[in-house]
C-alpha cells in the first residue's frame, strides 16, 4: 500500500512538473501566401486551458474558427495533452501582417501566445474571386476545372433577394428594404462583403429578433431555407430614379464531392469539400417623386408620414422674471427625426432661450415611429396679460396623399408684477447705458402757497383779452374821428380867413394910401403895418396876440416859403416899424407901399 502511495505521489509530481512548463504558441500553415489564399492559424496549448480569446485579424477574413481540438500523447511513458484552437483565414490585402497572439487561462494563469508575421503577396494567377478550393497548398488547373460545375449548381440553390415594401415613394416617405438569403445548400460560414451605400437616402438599420433565423419557404415551387440578413428603413432625400447597390456576401458552402474519392473514408462518409462563394443581390430601383406643390401649406417643413402634436405649459400665472416651461411634442410615424423646432411667435417682451430637443425614435419592421420633444424656457420680463399663440404644424399624409394641418391651443398667461424689485432694477440697469441719477432721490414737494386756478383757463385768447384789444382800437378810432371833425371845423375857419386875407389887406393898404395922400406919414405906416400884421395873422393862422416878426417867420417857414420872400417880409415889416416910431425922411413912402403890395401878392402866389 505504501508503495502504491509513493507511485501515485510520483505520478502527481510529474504532472506538477509538466504543468509548470506550460507552453502556448502560435503556429502558421505557411509564412507566405498569395492574396485570396487560405492560411491556417493554430494556437496550441500543451495543457488544459479555459477562456480562450482570439485576436482580431487585420488584412484577413475569417472563414472559420476558432475550432477546438484536443490531443493526447504518451511518449516514453510521459503523457502529454494539448489543446489547439485553429482559424482558417483568407488573405485579403497584400503586405506583411502580424498575426497577434491569443489569450487563454491555464490553471489560473493568463497566457498569451507569440505574434507571428505573414507575408501576403499579390495573386500570381488570376484566380476567380467567386470560388477557391479548399486545398490552397496544391492549387492546380485540374481543381479549377472541377470547381466550375459546382458553381453552376450553387447559383440555383443559393441567392440573395432584396425586397422593398414600395418602389414608388414621395420624398421623405419611408421605405423598408429587406435582404433575404435563399439557400438549399449547406452553408458553413458567411460574412457580408459589401453593404449597399444607399446613395440619396437616409438609412437606418432595423434590428429585429427574426434576423438570421432560418425559415422554410418555397420559391418557384422549390423548398428553400430563408434567412433575413438585413432590414433597413430608407427615407429618400432627392427625387428621381434612385438605384440601390447590390449587397455582396461571401459564403463558404459545403458540397458533396463525388468526383474525387480519395480514400476509403471519403467514400464511406461521402467526400465533402468547402467552396468559397460570393453571392450578390439583385439591384433595385426606387422611383421618388416630389411632394405635390398644390396645397402645400406655408409652414410645411418636410414632415412626411402621420403625426400628432401636443403642447403643454407648466404654469399660466406667474410673476415677472419667473421662468415658464413650454413643451411641444410631436409623435407619429414617418421621418420624425427630420421634424424641426417650431417657430413660435412668443410675445415680443419674453426672453426665450433656444429649445432643448429630445427624441425617442424606434425603428422596426413597420417603419420609423416615435416622439420628438422641444422644450422652451421663457421668461416674461414685464407684467401683463400675454398669449402664447397657437402652434401650427403641417405634414404630408402618405395614406391620403395630401397635406394635413394640426394646431395646438393657445395659452393665455397672466404675468404679475415682480415682488423682487432688486432683480427688476438690475435688469433695468443692464439695459440702460447710463444712469447717472440712480441712487439719488427726488426733490421735496413745493409747500409754498400757490393760487389754484381753473384748469385750461388763460387770459390769452380769453374774452378779456379780446375786449381789451377791441376797446383800445375803438378808443383810437373814436379819438381819430373826434380829432378830425374838430380840426376840420377849425381849419375851415382858417381857410376862409386865409382866403379873405388878401382882400382885407388890400382894403387896409387902400386906407394907408389915403393917409399918404393926405400927407399923414405916421398914420400911413401905422395902417400899413397893421394891414401886414392882419394879413399874416389871417394867412398863417397866427393869433393876433402872438404876432411878431419871429412868429411870422416861423409861420412862413412852415409853409415852405422861399427864403428871399421871408427876408423881404422881414425887411418890409422892419421898415414899417422903424418909420412908425422914428420917421425916416430918406424913405420913399411910395416905394414902401409898392413893396408891401408886391410882398402880399408874392406871398399869395407862394402859399
Amino acid at each position: 500500500m505504501v508503495k502504491i502511495k509513493h507511485i501515485l505521489l510520483f505520478v502527481f509530481l510529474i504532472f506538477a512538473f509538466a504543468a509548470k512548463s506550460q507552453k502556448f504558441e502560435t503556429q502558421l500553415s505557411s509564412n507566405q501566401i498569395q492574396v485570396g489564399q487560405r492560411l491556417k492559424v493554430s494556437y496550441v496549448l500543451n495543457s488544459k486551458g479555459t477562456n480562450f480569446r482570439g485576436p482580431k485579424f487585420y488584412g484577413f477574413q475569417v472563414l472559420s474558427g476558432p475550432n477546438q481540438s484536443t490531443s493526447m500523447q504518451i511518449v516514453n511513458g510521459n503523457m502529454s495533452s494539448s489543446i489547439t484552437y485553429s482559424y482558417i483565414l483568407q488573405a485579403v490585402k497584400e503586405g506583411t501582417h502580424t498575426i497577434k497572439g491569443a489569450k487563454i487561462e491555464a490553471e489560473g494563469k493568463a497566457l498569451t501566445s507569440n505574434d507571428v508575421n505573414v507575408r501576403v503577396i499579390k495573386a500570381q494567377n488570376s484566380t476567380q474571386p467567386q470560388a477557391n478550393t479548399q486545398q490552397n497548398n496544391n492549387q492546380n488547373q485540374q481543381q479549377q476545372q472541377q470547381a466550375q460545375p459546382t458553381n453552376d449548381k450553387i447559383t440555383d440553390n443559393l441567392f440573395i433577394k432584396v425586397y422593398a415594401n414600395k418602389t414608388k415613394a414621395f420624398v421623405g416617405e419611408e421605405i423598408i428594404v429587406t435582404y433575404k438569403v435563399y439557400t438549399r445548400v449547406n452553408i458553413v460560414n458567411n460574412g457580408i462583403n459589401k453593404l449597399p451605400d444607399f446613395t440619396g437616402f437616409w438609412a437606418q438599420d432595423i434590428e429585429s429578433a427574426a434576423q438570421g433565423r432560418l425559415e422554410q419557404t418555397t420559391y418557384n415551387g422549390v423548398a428553400f431555407n430563408v434567412a433575413t440578413i438585413k432590414q433597413t428603413a430608407l427615407i429618400p432625400q432627392k427625387t428621381g430614379k434612385l438605384e440601390i447597390d447590390p449587397l455582396i456576401m461571401d459564403v463558404v458552402v459545403r458540397l458533396r464531392d463525388n468526383n474525387r474519392p480519395r480514400s476509403i473514408f471519403d467514400q464511406f462518409f461521402g467526400g465533402f469539400k468547402d467552396v468559397n462563394y460570393q453571392i450578390k443581390s439583385n439591384k433595385i430601383t426606387i422611383e421618388v417623386s416630389p411632394l405635390p406643390s398644390m396645397g402645400k401649406p406655408k409652414d410645411f417643413t418636410g414632415a412626411v408620414g402621420k403625426f400628432s402634436i401636443s403642447s403643454i405649459i407648466d404654469k399660466d400665472s406667474l410673476e415677472a422674471n419667473e421662468a415658464i416651461n413650454f413643451k411641444v411634442t410631436y409623435s407619429g410615424n414617418g421621418n420624425i427625426k427630420f421634424v424641426q423646432a417650431p417657430k413660435i411667435n412668443f410675445p415680443p417682451d419674453f426672453e426665450v432661450y433656444d429649445p432643448k430637443a429630445s427624441e425617442k425614435v424606434s425603428v422596426n419592421a413597420s417603419g420609423i415611429s416615435g416622439t420628438k420633444t422641444f422644450e422652451y424656457l421663457i421668461i416674461p420680463r414685464h407684467e401683463g396679460k400675454f398669449v402664447i399663440p397657437e402652434l401650427s404644424f403641417s405634414y404630408f399624409d402618405v395614406a391620403s396623399k395630401s397635406y394635413k394641418n394640426l394646431k395646438t391651443k393657445p395659452f393665455p398667461i397672466q404675468v404679475g408684477k415682480s415682488n423682487n424689485t432688486e432683480t427688476a432694477t438690475a435688469y433695468r440697469s443692464v439695459k440702460k447705458e447710463e444712469i447717472k441719477l440712480l441712487g439719488k432721490d427726488i426733490r421735496f414737494i413745493k409747500t409754498n402757497q400757490q393760487e389754484l386756478k381753473e384748469r385750461n383757463v388763460s387770459l390769452f385768447n380769453s374774452p378779456i383779452h379780446y375786449f381789451g384789444l377791441g376797446l383800445s382800437s375803438l378808443a383810437l378810432i373814436a379819438f381819430m374821428f373826434f380829432a378830425k371833425t374838430k380840426q376840420r371845423s377849425k381849419s375851415d375857419l382858417l381857410d376862409a380867413k386865409s382866403k379873405k386875407a388878401a382882400k382885407l389887406a388890400a382894403k387896409k393898404l387902400k386906407d394907408a394910401q389915403n393917409e399918404l395922400k393926405s400927407g399923414n406919414k405916421e398914420a400911413f405906416y401905422e395902417k400899413l403895418l397893421a394891414g401886414l400884421y392882419n394879413y399874416f395873422s389871417d394867412k398863417l393862422s397866427i393869433p393876433v396876440a402872438d404876432l411878431s416878426k419871429e412868429s411870422i417867420e416861423t409861420g412862413l417857414q412852415k409853409f415852405d416859403t422861399p427864403a428871399v420872400l421871408i427876408e423881404e417880409t422881414k425887411e418890409v415889416i422892419s421898415i414899417c416899424e422903424i418909420a412908425r416910431f422914428a420917421p425916416v425922411t430918406s424913405l420913399n413912402e411910395e416905394e414902401t407901399f409898392t413893396k408891401a403890395n408886391n410882398l402880399i401878392q408874392n406871398v399869395e402866389k407862394a402859399i
Binding site: L437, I442, L452, S472, L476
Partner: protein
C-alpha cells in the same frame, strides 16, 4: 351793447370773488396733503391731491407734489404724467426738471430725440419764459401803446413830434405782433392735449390700426408719446425719435 358790456364786466369782476371761498377750502386741503407727504404718508397724501385735482382746479405745485407721491410709490408712469402736467404750467422749474429726469432715467425705454431745429427751439424756449396770461397782458399793453402813438401821431402837427409818434407806434405794433406770436405759441403748448404717457407695462406698436398688422416696436410704461391721429379704438402715435405707429386706447394717458 352797453348793457352787455356791463354784464361781462360784472361777471369778470365777481368771478374771483365767487371762487374765493372754494379756493380757500382747497388751499387748506393742499396744506393738509403737504403735511401728510412730510410725514411720509404718501398714500393719504395722493388721495387728497387727487381730490383737489377732481375739483377742476390746478396749479404747478399740485401736479408736482402729486408726481412726487407717485414716484415714492415707484409708480413711474403716473409720476412722469404729473411731472409733465406740471411742466406745461412751469417748464423751467429746476426741481421739476431734476425729478422728471430722475423718473425718466428709471423707465425702460431710452429714446434719442431728433435734435430740434435751433430756431424753433429758441422760439419755444422764448415762449415758455412767461405764462400765457402774462403774454396776454403784454400783448394788451403794447396794443395800447400803439393806439396812443397812433393818436399822438394823428394829433400833433409839428413834424418832429409826428416822427416820434410814428416810430413809437411802429415799435408798439411790432411788439404787439411779437407778443401775440409767442402768446399763441405758449397758449397752444398749454392747451395742447396731444402728448401722452404710456401706462401699459409692455406695449406693442403696430403698423396699422388692426390687431393682425405687423408689430413695429415695443414701448414700456412711462414713455412719452405724441398722439397724431385717432380712430375709435386706435391712435396714431409718434415718438421723439421720429418713429410712427398705431396703438390701442386705454394704454396711455393724455398729459
Amino acid at each position: 351793447m352797453l348793457k352787455k358790456l356791463y354784464n361781462i364786466f360784472l361777471v369778470l369782476a365777481l368771478l374771483p370773488l365767487a371762487s374765493l371761498g372754494q379756493g380757500e377750502y382747497y388751499n387748506n386741503l393742499m396744506e393738509k396733503a403737504n403735511d401728510l407727504y412730510s410725514q411720509s404718508l404718501y398714500d393719504s397724501a395722493i388721495t387728497v391731491y387727487s381730490e383737489i385735482e377732481g375739483s377742476g382746479l390746478e396749479s404747478f405745485n399740485l401736479y408736482y407734489n402729486k408726481g412726487n407721491c407717485a414716484f415714492k410709490f415707484n409708480d413711474l408712469p403716473t409720476a412722469i404724467l404729473y411731472y409733465e402736467k406740471a411742466s406745461k404750467l412751469k417748464p423751467n422749474d429746476k426741481d421739476l426738471i431734476h425729478n422728471l429726469s430722475l423718473a425718466n432715467a428709471q423707465i425702460v425705454d431710452k429714446i434719442e430725440p431728433l435734435p430740434p431745429f435751433f430756431i424753433s427751439k429758441w422760439i419755444v424756449e422764448s415762449a415758455e419764459l412767461l405764462h400765457s396770461n402774462y403774454w396776454a397782458i403784454l400783448n394788451l399793453i403794447f396794443f395800447i401803446i400803439f393806439c396812443l402813438s397812433a393818436g399822438f401821431y394823428y394829433k400833433v402837427s409839428k413834424p418832429s413830434l409826428k416822427v416820434m409818434g410814428f416810430y413809437a407806434g411802429l415799435i408798439g405794433l411790432f411788439l404787439f405782433f411779437t407778443t401775440l406770436y409767442f402768446g399763441v405759441k405758449k397758449y397752444n403748448l398749454e392747451t395742447n392735449n396731444s402728448n401722452a404717457i404710456v401706462f401699459e407695462p409692455s406695449l406693442t406698436v403696430k403698423s396699422e390700426p388692426s390687431e393682425n398688422s405687423t408689430e413695429l416696436f415695443l414701448l414700456h410704461e412711462g414713455t412719452k408719446i405724441s398722439i397724431l391721429d385717432s380712430t375709435d379704438a386706435w391712435h396714431k402715435i409718434s415718438l421723439p425719435d421720429g418713429n410712427i405707429g398705431w396703438i390701442k386706447s386705454e394704454t396711455f394717458r393724455i398729459i
